[in-house]
Symmetry: C2
Subunit: 411 residues, 2 copies
């Protein structure tokens, strides 16, 4: 396949597997200006798949940055009511949402954190209906990435920018199984394999997981009762056909109990948080809460994350990923969670996913918390998986089962 | 000035003279994706001028075209309520609106006219508050142009596209007085000169104008009683400072009486209507209405225009422009009304401007019509001015005054 053919195949994959666009359905596409040419391929494929309308919301790092630098905080505190009306209405009206990421991972470096927080908080309130439906898969959504120059130069700082963009494109293609045949079929096979794993885990209903590796991780996390492991495809709420909220996705994940985490977790990959890298860090947990932490680089940024709100110091997601996943095999740090979280086992600090608890989507916040779920404005993944990671599960009867051995699935 | 300096000067001109952005004011910018780099210059200048927020609405010919080609007509019939809420709200809330045009003049060629009409009609209803304030200068707005590749290749079909874009940029700079010194000051001087002309015309309160030239034009148009000639700058509704709704603008214009037009008007420049060129056409008027017409090229398109609605067969604007204006001096057909209308005397078929009648903005549609105003979904300018055009005015007392001689102002 030529480069142009791969791009077209990728656009088709996003439309026909990522979102499984149906005839008459609307597509809401959020995309960086810089990759408008790729967006046009997606738009074309969406119409060919029968979309009745494609609504595009363009984003741009430089313009966003100017706003952060010059606009007063009131602008961030007041989420536009029309934008809320648009997204909340479309979310309830058979619209699929696609977001293409891939801009500068350091775009927000040095921005007034109060403005960022104010914007997030205002969006959280204004888009409550939208977020609620998103977190419960009440509509189809998909996040994927397309290389920008700024992103590629950060991933490959030592080579020419155009060459860096080409290499990052090839890496992205590798992670999403483009160039290996019919990509839609490959994704359906992939989803079936992930389903095998989470079905076994769901039947086990493990009480807790022990993590141990040579980095220094020695950690136990408790899972909520009636947790659900998920991974790969979700189901179209209308016709049940599969869609993929993330592309790539290699993880099988569930809900940790917010008050049950003990011991030391060591990072295995750097974490890019609001434009700054946090490297070689460790978190010490007691009763589910981070009570101590350290980092060789970016400790202040780690502090900022942990002090975001109370829920930012508790876990919201526990995810299993083999050390040799197609993402890990690219052998690069993507500096973008969408990829890096699929290169290694990880946890998230912050908000949990309601769908990881049976009955969760129908619960109030209070009920969710009572069941061990975590609530936060943050949801930040950090990687802990290594080639020598061992994960042992403890069943309700106290028996041990090996979940991960030598960094990958033991079953 | 280098090319980059000229672009920056142009961005400054649009922000500081075109819209006279005040501290704390919002800017709503509509801009083609292709010229995002120029938009960023404008956004930066707007923030430097004190704008509190810049909201950008991106447009793109190819994406719009895909929508016309694939989306069902219902999509065009239903104007999104959030978009109406946004524009209607912002229009009442101290926002200045800038629109950058300059895409492919033939972008809509071959599109289903019913979809275009449906979209225009839906917008007209949904954005009534916005349009009402726009037509009465209740908020500041500005339309300018930036060359796209498609536009430049149509203007200069025989040269390389990059060279065409450069040449069109230089032509645009020439029309907006960039590269001749302090452009904001040049525009204030220009506005003062246009004011001299329309002040004299307003004092005369001519009953009618006779047009005659060697193309075959022999035409009389009646002006409404208490008409106002306008041109150049309008006034910020808050602080009275000048702004320019169009850049370039060379015209002084007023309201013809919808029932008072007699004789033959011959076009002096081609007219680009919804992507198709209408060339060498003439219109025959009786009692204000087009009763006959012909065109060497594009007669079907002319028919479509005239049959748009009843108001499309009557005049809504009468504008005077010297044959040697800075736009005309570029010696090219811009294929974009914003420019071509400033190269020659012209009329518009369709909707009138309420501000061209004393008390007009406060009138109902019925009152406006009773005073001779014209109502239509269309407002299409067509050029009639030539180097040998003579325009004679008739005062209420029946005296003759020479308005234009040898294609330019006689006073």
């Amino acid at each position: 396949m030529t480069f142009e053919e791969k791009k077209r195949e990728y656009a088709k994959l996003l439309v026909n597997a990522g979102l499984s666009i149906r005839k008459g359905q609307k597509l809401y596409l959020t995309c960086p200006l810089e990759v408008a040419d790729f967006a046009k391929l997606v738009i074309k494929e969406a119409y060919l798949a029968g979309a009745s309308n494609v609504i595009v919301k363009w984003v741009d790092d430089e313009i966003a940055r100017m706003k952060y630098d010059y606009a007063p905080i009131e602008v961030f505190e007041n989420f536009p009511e029309w934008e809320a009306l648009e997204k909340n209405t479309l979310a309830k009206d058979d619209t699929a949402f696609m977001r293409i990421v891939g801009e500068d991972p350091e775009a927000l470096k040095g921005v007034d954190a109060n403005k960022i927080k104010a914007g997030q908080k205002a969006a959280y309130v204004a888009l409550r209906d939208y977020y609620k439906l998103q977190s419960t898969m009440g509509f189809k959504w998909n996040v994927s990435a397309v290389p920008s120059k700024a992103w590629a130069s950060k991933v490959f700082p030592d080579i020419d920018v155009d060459e860096a963009v080409s290499r990052l494109w090839e890496a992205v293609f590798g992670t999403v199984r483009i160039g290996e045949g019919d990509s839609v079929k490959l994704w359906m096979d992939h989803a079936a394999k992930l389903k095998e794993k989470y079905t076994i885990l769901n039947n086990w209903q493990l009480k807790e997981l022990h993590y141990k590796n040579s980095l220094g991780t020695d950690f136990t996390v408790g899972l909520v009762e009636n947790h659900r492991w998920e991974g790969g495809a979700d189901k179209d709420p209308v016709d049940g056909r599969p869609f993929f909220a993330n592309m790539p996705t290699e993880e099988v994940f569930t809900m940790p109990h917010r008050l049950k985490a003990e011991g030391v977790l060591c990072s295995s990959l750097p974490l890019c948080y609001e434009g700054d890298l946090i490297e070689d860090f460790k978190l010490v947990f007691k009763n589910g809460e981070v009570v101590d932490y350290d980092a060789k680089k970016g400790k202040d940024q780690l502090k900022l994350l942990l002090e975001g709100d109370e829920g930012s110091r508790h876990l919201g997601e526990c995810a299993l990923v083999p050390f040799d996943s197609p993402v890990a095999k690219q052998g690069i740090l993507f500096l973008e969670t969408l990829f890096d979280e699929n290169a290694a086992c990880h946890f998230a600090l912050g908000n949990c996913y309601e769908t990881n608890l049976i009955g969760g989507p129908e619960m109030s916040e209070e009920e969710l918390i009572a069941h061990g779920g975590n609530i936060s404005l943050n949801h930040v993944d950090f990687m802990v998986g290594t080639k020598d990671l061992e994960i042992t599960g403890i069943t309700k009867d106290g028996e041990q089962v090996t979940v991960f051995k030598n960094g990958t699935w033991a079953f």
